[in-house]
Point group: C2
Chain length 414, copies 2
Amino acid sequence: MVEEVKSRIVVQKYGGTSVGSAERIKEVAKRVIRHRDRGESIVVVVSAMSGETNKLVALINELNPTGSSREKDMILSTGEQVTIGLLSLALEAKGCPVISYTGPQAGVKTDNSFSKARISQIDGTKIKQDLSKGKVVVVAGFQGVDAEGNITTLGRGGSDTTAVALAVALDAAECQIYTDVDGVYTTDPRMVPEASHIPKLALEEMLEMASQGSKVLQIRAVEFAYKYDMPIRVLSSFDEGDNGKSTLVTREEDIMEEVLVRGVAFNRDETLLTITGVPDQPGVAFKILGPISDANIEIDMIVQNIGEDGSTDFTFTVHRDDHDQAKEILSSVGDKFNAEKVGGVTNIAKVSIVGGGMRSHAGVATRMFEALANENINIRMISTSEIKVAVLIDEKYLELAVRCLHEAFGLDKP
Amino acid sequence: MVEEVKSRIVVQKYGGTSVGSAERIKEVAKRVIRHRDRGESIVVVVSAMSGETNKLVALINELNPTGSSREKDMILSTGEQVTIGLLSLALEAKGCPVISYTGPQAGVKTDNSFSKARISQIDGTKIKQDLSKGKVVVVAGFQGVDAEGNITTLGRGGSDTTAVALAVALDAAECQIYTDVDGVYTTDPRMVPEASHIPKLALEEMLEMASQGSKVLQIRAVEFAYKYDMPIRVLSSFDEGDNGKSTLVTREEDIMEEVLVRGVAFNRDETLLTITGVPDQPGVAFKILGPISDANIEIDMIVQNIGEDGSTDFTFTVHRDDHDQAKEILSSVGDKFNAEKVGGVTNIAKVSIVGGGMRSHAGVATRMFEALANENINIRMISTSEIKVAVLIDEKYLELAVRCLHEAFGLDKP
């Protein structure tokens, strides 16, 4: 029987920059011990030391860039494994009882989509036993194991996902994501210096911010947190005293202040694909887009136009990394349907406004379009949800668009 | 049910230099494919790329050199994991079906002596299945998993041991050890340029050569091969065409030519420890040496002298790395027994002559002592077996001793 862990469980995640050197790892150890001394039970999730993954990728590319993802995952998963051992040694050196686990050892089960695996289950029994003995548990982010015992990696930003999923499995009080910024801002401060810090926002809003391109938290991690109602706190690992700013991302009822637009998110990660002159018949969308999904390529925005001649056009966006593969699939689908043309555009960007307050206020989208029109920025595609409006524009207008929207919705610092 | 593997199974092991760069890994892939094209079923065991382990050790030492071996093994085992993925990608790039396994995935079970674990069992079922499907199987050397699922490393030269143990588990035809030399020589050619290549020698002789300091094969690997009668072939990975020299190490009845002395082995790895003036009573050897063994420190040569006053002295050798720890243990044992003195000497070396022919010839040891006496080399300790005579001398005489013995037993090239 597992002894109950009586103290407050906190999962802390440190990214590559936060563990980028022996010195930085010592700083992380200090912080972990400070939290433990307060009586918290700490589980730490770490990424590979910054730069390490790139070195491994360079070796992979030298030998076989198009080789099997299983072997690439075998190689890439070593980065985090090194970090867990090093952080554990640093904690030991300060007298802190600790044990490290790789993803597979920690019971992080995934499907077998190598390089972008999804977590299917986490068995937290072993970790809870360690916590109840007073140990700090250090877990390798970004990785897991499939049903056949193969090592898998979770793909982009996977360590955030590991952290949140572990927090859920362990019923943690919160999941703390330590990064090189001290929280979420109304937009990227590197693009708009007037961007303001957001101390608290709703998981739903963060979900939209992340999916629209805010790099602070990884979308899949936020999805996990949203689904299981796990509060996430974003903090800077460069803040020495735990007294700095942070952003708490939690469920909506906890958010006092309701603002119309919370922030402006953007990304350059998407590219546009079009297929025109396809006969319009029932199921055509499925037949055209199905093969893309089957290749495990995520489609973001989709627009379908039906022409007067009974033919139809599809326009949709995919991640930049998947562009070539998606275009190839689309071309062979196009041949089958005698499509008029298959094309792709890569120099585009997406900019979005996000805010829970939109729900109860009409005219937000109109105000957005007006602001963009005032700057003569042409909109290629629009996609909306309850709490977001996203538009696709030419990449060259991106900075202009972000700045004018940030100002138009009064997000600049007071 | 596992399909039977009908072709000849060969296990090939490549050390750190042989896989030291992407270029070298491509060369290994070529050789593996050449062998596979001949109809052999190939299992490849690899070490970490040369230099990688040292980088990891440097990081470990920066954080906590005396930290727990479990965490160090967690870190060090990543080196081989990278190599198996890279070699698999290189093989894939040449159209060769392949799968890689870490030690734990390959079913290499060990005890839990982290940093010097011993293999307890290998389940070859999965690998045999892969071989029967025509795949090359690439396995990480040097590592395994204990009963609790912790990653362990096998310590010094562990990849050789993995290779031989796998060869035994898979009932392979032979275990090929690729290294930077083309076989076993009568002594180290870097010290004695006249050393001759040995095309074939007995496992027993190799066992003594390895245990006496020959660096070509790791002692534990030879022990494994000896116990399970697995032929080992030592080859150079720098020989491009598979036409070069090699040394086949096999059981004695296969060796035609019986020579008196096969070779001269030496090492600087041992240090001497002495404890004097211990009361001579039954069980004293156990009480004094037991705590050293309990600390998992191997004792090599032992001499006990009984004095006239009813007290006794012990002199023994341990590996240089274990000297400080052993001396500390010995001191506390010494206190308990009111020993006169506990001392240690580190500037010593061991030189040995090895040969199956010794068994049936008297006077070999005498001839050895004579040759050393002619050069005024003082002997500190002697240890003999059926097929070996080893002596401990001052380190500064080592090269002189090796050269004069090599000549005295007619081992120089014709």
